[in-house]
């Protein structure tokens, strides 16, 4: 047996010797700071960067130049990328158009479809937990005179299908429901939603920025008519995304950006060849490695969650555990304010649903929508793990978070009251 305890019979030992949360073996120290914010963005996979590089320099042609080798070369690369994107969602390559990211895709899907149909239909359905770019696009449509229904979510973060059915009218043009939520990682019942929409003859758009490459998606099996994709959430570059637009039956939309008529007129502008190549390669890698990556991340995620549950009282999971992508954990550490906690774990890059971390003074609207009380919403931490997260990273993070939570609870007046059996809700707080 080795002295440092890192291996026995060639097997990984999962529990290294620890004192005060620090490894005593000096081995496998993770590199600091540790990135645990994979829902905010992901690093480019080095394989993606490799694939992109030639298209900045020697293969720099304009993919829309029809008359020479440089253009053909770039076009070929872009079309290969389009096939790679189509493949991961079970689409035909002709149904994929490149955009600058999921924000643009969501804007184009919602405004584009609504504008095209405005003489016939005027109603849009979405949910309260959508990303801001969907909610703001809907607000914009409301200002233009459209009616928008914002479906609530249940305590687990998922919509109630009966409420969706009840909300659809003959004026409904499109239903936009995100595949995976960016804060709590919950997966909406896409196939069921798609079925309902198809039966009722309304378009189904899904913002799949957080879903592509994480869970299997099939636009045909799920009856999805439009789907937004983002490069930088799937180990591809920032500044590129895609919108899937169904051809059979054909979805028609008004363009937002007018010009040279590229992307079948739906999105003018010269395509960014290296970025398209990067998105394509990112999709190809994700498609190949999805199953094994999901298994590995599930193991790491459960490892984290179980440690917290076993070693800390009053830790609450936000959002459904089963209907959830493997790389997300959103926890409320009761009686410890999220930003205060983040300052104590400054070697860990995480996010909080606390108001203090956002520009507004409201705590996360997503957590509030689940019915999480404001005081608990202030104590939430989003731990996002991904392709480059190691077991060492996770173990280090767990130790430091537990240490910090314990320290901050020992100085929290709310924790003290709870220990004394005082109901915090019985106190007249002066809201400020």
């Amino acid at each position: 047996m080795s002295v440092n305890g890192s291996s026995t019979n060639g097997q990984q030992v999962h529990e290294p010797v620890q004192v005060n949360g620090l490894r005593q073996d000096g081995q496998n120290q993770p590199q600091l700071p540790i990135y645990l914010d994979y829902q905010a963005t992901t690093p480019c996979d080095p394989r993606v960067v490799q694939a992109m590089l030639p298209y900045f320099t020697e293969k720099f042609g304009n993919p829309h130049s029809r008359n020479h080798h440089f253009g053909w070369e770039a076009e070929e690369a872009v079309e290969k990328a389009r096939r790679q994107v189509a493949s991961i969602i079970g689409a035909d390559e002709k149904e994929v158009i490149f955009t600058s990211g999921a924000t643009e895709s969501n804007n184009l899907a919602l405004k584009g479809v609504a504008h095209f149909q405005k003489d016939r239909k005027n109603h849009v359905i979405t949910t309260v937990t959508e990303h801001k770019c969907v909610l703001d696009s809907c607000r914009h449509l409301e200002m233009e005179g459209f009616k928008v229904t914002y479906l609530p979510v249940q305590q687990n973060g998922l919509i109630d299908l009966e409420q969706l059915k009840a909300a659809i009218t003959d004026k409904t043009v499109i239903v936009s429901i995100m595949a995976v939520n960016n804060e709590i990682g919950v997966i909406q019942p896409l196939a069921e939603i798609g079925k309902i929409c198809r039966e009722r003859g309304v378009y189904f758009h899904t913002d799949a920025a957080q879903a592509v490459g994480k869970i299997p998606l099939d636009v045909n099996a799920m009856n999805i008519d439009l789907m937004s994709i983002s490069g930088h959430k799937i180990y591809g570059p920032k500044g590129i995304g895609a919108l899937y637009v169904r051809r059979k039956p054909r979805v028609r939309l008004d363009a937002l950006i007018h010009g040279g008529g590229q992307e079948r007129g739906m999105r003018s502008g010269t395509l960014a060849t290296p970025l398209c190549v990067g998105l394509g390669e990112a999709c190809a890698i994700a498609e190949k490695e999805m199953a094994s990556e999901a298994e590995r991340l599930t193991y790491l995620r459960d490892r984290m969650y179980n440690q917290f549950k076993e070693r800390l009282p009053e830790v609450f999971l936000n959002g459904d555990l089963d209907q959830r992508i493997p790389g997300n954990l959103n926890l409320s550490f009761a009686y410890v304010e999220g930003e205060g906690l983040m300052m104590g774990i400054k070697d860990l890059a995480v996010s909080s649903g606390s108001a203090c971390t956002s520009a507004s003074l409201e705590p996360s609207y997503v957590l509030r929508a689940l019915g999480v009380e404001e005081e608990l919403a202030h104590t939430s931490l989003r731990l996002g793990i991904g392709r480059f997260t190691t077991e060492q990273d996770v173990d280090y993070a767990v130790e430091h978070i537990i240490e910090s939570v314990n320290k901050l609870r020992s100085m929290s007046p709310l924790w003290e009251m709870a220990q004394e059996g005082i109901d915090i809700k019985s106190i007249q707080w002066a809201e400020h």
């Binding site: 410890v336 304010e337 205060g340 007046p413 707080w429 002066a430 400020h432």
Partner: protein
Amino acid sequence: MAYSQQLIDHYENPRNVGSLEKTDGTVGTGLVGAPACGDVMKLQIKVGVDGRIEDAKFKTFGCGSAIASSSLATEWVKGKTLDEAEQIKNTEIAQHLSLPPVKIHCSILAEDAIKAAIKDYRDKQQVADGKAAE
């Protein structure tokens, strides 16, 4: 957001964390803020026979700026008379910790906590004086 050295020091090595016996007649307790707003401060003072604050403790639920503001407040009130402690301004706390503009409310809360603790102590004294006069 880059925090000042002073702020980080108070966050990492908070001064006077703890609780005093709130039923003690020489102890004043201030509890300000609200859990729903993301910050709650409890600040306590113990007043000596000479009328000076001989001890102060705090517990805070909040961000780093809130914790540092209340830690600093306990440090500043110690040794002061009540009238002197009442003069501590949130702007001085904010300046000392170089609080960013979005965190000014933390220093306001700390000033409120000091005032609330002093008021609680004085209220207790009045009740005690009243009882003595009976």
